[in-house]
Symmetry: C3
Subunit: 339 residues, 3 copies
C-alpha cells in the first residue's frame, strides 16, 4: 500500500514521500524500510532517530529532538489508535486469501453451508450442521453432527467441536481447542471402580467470544455449559461441565474452572488460578494469578492468595509472615528480660 | 421413544400419557416438552409444578405439593438410577450413526482391523497396528505404527497415538490428547547445551480407562508408562515418562505428574495439583486441589496445602497464619505491661 | 542387529554369544531375550543374576556376585554412555521408515520442499512456505503460509503452525502443539466489551529447540516471540506474545509465561510455575516447581515459593510457619508467668 493511501485511511498529514510502498506494521526499534510504525509513548522517542521504518505515525505536535532526521512521518491526533486501525487493515487484506470449500474437505450432504464460507483441506463436518455466512474453517478441523456455527467466525486448524454444539457470530477459536468433550462424571461402584455417567448436554458459545489454543470446554451432563457474549478466553483453559461464564469476562491462560461453577459479568481471572465446582462469582470480581478459589465471592473487588482472600487482607497476612523473624526476636527479648 | 417404552425399560408405573414422544433427557428447570427429567433431591421439588418436561421420573411415594399439576410421571424405586439408565440408552442410540471405514481414511495394508470398526475421514493408522472389534476412531486421529488398541474403544477426533502404544478394551480418549510423545530427557553437555536422550519405551493403557481432552502421556525412556485398569483422567493432565497410575485412581484436570512417580490404587488427586518425580503414593491417598506433593506419601488419608501436609495439620497451620495479628497484639500487650 | 556388531559400535569386549539377535534396548529388570540392557548403578546389581536380557553392558572391571550366572556381557569403559549411544542407533533405524510426500497431503504448488522431506497423509502446507532438507512432517499437521522450516526437523502429527512462523534446523515439535496463535490482546471499550488488537507479529524458533506436546506459543502483537537456540520446552507450556527465552534454557511441564517477559540463558524453570508479564530473568536463574514469579530476578540462583523468594529465605520462612505452634506456646507461658 502506498503511504499516500495510508495517510488517507487514518486521516493524517504526510511529511515525506507519498509513494513509499508499505507492506505491514512494525515496532519502532526493529521495523524495516517497507514497514510503518508509530510513536506514542515518550519512552520510545529514543528510537526515533535510528528507526529503519519507512514511516512513523506521530502526534500532531510531535517535535523530534534531532530535527535533522530524514524520515517520512504521518501526523495524526492519536498515533496509537491510528496504528491499531492500520494493523487491522493489513490483517484483513492478508486473510482474504482463504476462500471456498476445499475438495479435500469432507462435508456431509445433509449439512447447510452459508455463503462465502471457507472450509480448508481435511475439514470434516458431520450431518445436520449449519455453518453461517462468511465463516472460515481452517484445515484439519472437525465439527460433529447437529452443530450450529454462526456468521463471520474463524475456526483455526486442528480444532475439535463435538456434536450438538451451538456457536454464535464473530467467534474466533484457536488451534488445538476442544469444545464439547464429555464432562468428568463417574458414579463409584461397590467394588471401588467407576461407571461413566453419560454426558448428554451441550456447549453454547454466544457472539463475539474468542478462545485461545489448546483450551478445553466440556459439554454439560444435562443442560448446557455456556460461554456468554464477549467472553475472552486465553490458551490452555479448562472449563468443566455446566459452567456458565458471564458477558465480557476475561480469563487468562491455564485457569481451571470445575463443574457447575457460575461466573458473573465483567470478571477478570488471572493466569493459573483455579475455581472449585458449584460456587459462584458475582459480577466485576477480579481474581489475581494462581489463586485458589474454594468458595463463592459475592462482593465485587480484587482477590488474591493461595487460599483466596480480599487483596488488602492478603497483603497484610503476607507482610506478617515476612516479619515472623522479628516477632520471634521480640518474643525472645521478653523471655530473656523476664528471667 | 414413546413414554410407554421408557416405563418398561426402567420398570416403572406411568401416570399420564403413554404415547408422548421423548427424544432425550433434560434438567427439571429447563427441559422441553419432548424431554424426560427426574426428581430425586427435595431441593429441586420447587421446579416440579413449573417444569415443561414431557415426563418426570419420581419415587414411588412422591406426593406433589400442588396436586393439581398436570404432568405425566413415571414412578420408580430410585429415580436417579433410572434416569442414568435412560441417558445411557439415548446416548447409545445416538452413537449408532458412526460406522464403517471411511474411504478418506489412510490405513496401512499391513494393519489388522477388527469387525465392526469405525474409522472416520482423515484417520491415519500406520503399519503393524491391530484395532479390536467395535472400536470407533473418529476423524483426523493418528495412530502410529505397531500400536495395539483393544475392543470397544472410542478414540475421539484429533487424538495422536505414537508408535508402539498398547491400549486395552473399553478405553475412551477425548480430542487433542497425545499418548506416547517423547519423555522430557536430556543430558547436559560441557558447553551447557543439552543432548536428547532417546525415549524408546512405550505407553500401556489398561482396560476401562477414560482420558479427557488435551491430556499428554509421555512414553517411557526405557520400559513403560502405565495407566492401570479403571483409571479416570480429566482434561489437560500431564503424565511424564515412566509414571505408573494404579487401578481405579481418579485425577482431576490440569494435574502434573513428573517422571517415574508411582501412584497407588483408588487414589484421588484434585485439580492443578503437582507431583514431583521419583516419589510414590500408596493406595487410597486423597490429594486436594493445587497441592504441591514433593515427597512420597505412604499413609492413606487426605493431604492438602501448597507444601503438602496431612489435612488436619494444614488446617491448623492455616488458622495460625490467620491469627497472626492476634498473636502480635498479645505480644505488644506483654511488651507494654513489662515496661 | 547381531551382538557382535553392537560390540564393535560401542567399542566393547564381548563375553558370550556374538550371534544373538538384538532388536532394541530394555531395562535390566524387565528386558526380554532379544533386548540389550546395561548395569552402571550398583543399586541395580541385584537384578543381574535374574535378568532375561540377551546381553548386559557392564564396566570393564565388573565382577558378578554370583559368578555362575550365564549371560552374555559386553565390557566397556562407561556402560551408561554406551547404552545411550545404542538406543540412539536403534531409534534412527526405526525412523527410516517414514519418507516421501504422501499423495494424501495437500502442499501448495508455490511452496518449496527440500530434498528427502517426508510429509505424511493429511499434512497441509500453505502457499509460500519453505521446508528444509530431511525434515519430517507427520500426518494431520498444518503449516500456515509463508512459514519457513529448517533442515532435519521433526514435526509430529496434529501440530499447528500458523502463518509467517520461522523455525530453524534440528527442531522437534510434539503433537498437539500450537505455534503462532494470536496473542491475548484486547482493548477495553466504553461499554465494558473488548475489541481485539490484531496480532501481526510472528514466532521465531531457533536451531536445536525441542517442544513437547500440547504446548502453546503465541505470535507477537508486533515484532516477534522468540525461542532461542537449544531451548527445551516440556508439555503443556503456555508462552504468551512477545516473550523471549534465552539459549539452553529448560522449562518443565505446565509452566505459564505471560506477555513480553524475557528469560535469560541457561535458566531452569520447574513444572507449573508461572511468570507474570513484562518482567525479566537474568541468565542462570533456577526457579522451583509451582513458583509464582511476579517481579524481575537479576541475580543468578535458586528461587522458590508461592510468592517467589531466594531458596534459603523461603526455607526459613517455611520453618517459621511450621513452628508457629511453639511460638504461641512460648507466648502463653510468658502471659501466664506475668500474672
Amino acid at each position: 500500500m502506498k503511504l499516500g493511501e495510508i495517510a488517507e485511511i487514518i486521516n493524517g498529514r504526510i511529511e515525506g514521500d507519498r509513494d513509499i510502498d508499505i507492506t505491514g506494521p512494525g515496532k519502532i526499534e526493529s521495523a524495516e524500510a517497507h514497514q510503518i510504525t508509530f510513536l506514542a509513548n515518550p519512552r520510545y522517542e529514543k528510537y526515533f532517530s535510528d528507526t529503519k521504518a519507512g514511516c512513523v505515525i506521530v502526534s500532531e505536535d510531535f517535535n523530534p529532538k534531532n530535527p535533522s532526521v530524514k524520515i517520512s512521518v504521518i501526523r495524526v491526533k492519536d498515533p496509537y489508535s491510528s496504528f491499531l486501525r492500520l494493523i487491522e487493515i493489513f490483517e484483513v487484506n492478508d486473510d482474504e486469501m482463504e476462500s471456498g470449500i476445499s475438495d479435500k474437505s469432507d462435508i456431509h450432504s445433509d449439512t447447510v453451508i452459508g455463503e462465502n464460507v471457507y472450509a480448508g483441506s481435511n475439514v470434516c463436518i458431520q450431518k445436520g450442521c449449519n455453518i453461517g455466512n462468511s465463516t472460515k474453517i481452517y484445515p484439519n478441523t472437525f465439527i460433529g453432527r447437529n452443530s450450529v456455527i454462526g456468521k463471520n467466525c474463524k475456526i483455526h486448524p486442528n480444532v475439535t467441536i463435538y456434536k450438538n454444539t451451538e456457536i454464535g457470530d464473530n467467534v474466533i477459536i484457536h488451534s488445538g481447542t476442544v469444545i464439547g468433550s464429555d464432562g468428568f462424571g463417574f458414579a463409584k461402584q461397590g467394588d471401588s471402580s467407576y461407571k461413566k455417567i453419560p454426558q448428554t448436554g451441550k456447549v453454547v458459545i454466544e457472539n463475539d467470544v474468542e478462545i485461545g489454543s489448546n483450551t478445553s470446554i466440556d459439554r454439560a451432563t444435562i443442560g448446557e455449559t455456556r460461554i456468554c457474549r464477549g467472553v475472552k478466553l486465553d490458551n490452555q483453559i479448562q472449563i468443566a461441565h455446566n459452567v456458565v461464564i458471564g458477558e465480557d469476562t476475561v480469563i487468562a491462560a491455564q485457569v481451571g474452572i470445575a463443574g457447575s461453577t457460575k461466573i458473573g459479568k465483567r470478571c477478570m481471572i488471572g493466569g493459573q488460578s483455579g475455581l472449585v465446582g458449584h460456587i459462584e462469582l458475582c459480577d466485576d470480581v477480579i481474581i489475581g494469578a494462581a489463586v485458589g478459589v474454594s468458595k463463592s465471592i459475592m462482593e465485587p473487588g480484587i482477590y488474591t492468595g493461595y487460599r483466596v482472600r480480599p487483596y488488602r487482607e492478603d497483603l497484610k497476612t503476607e507482610a506478617r509472615i515476612k516479619n515472623l523473624d522479628k516477632l520471634e526476636e521480640r518474643l525472645k527479648k521478653l523471655e530473656t528480660s523476664g528471667k
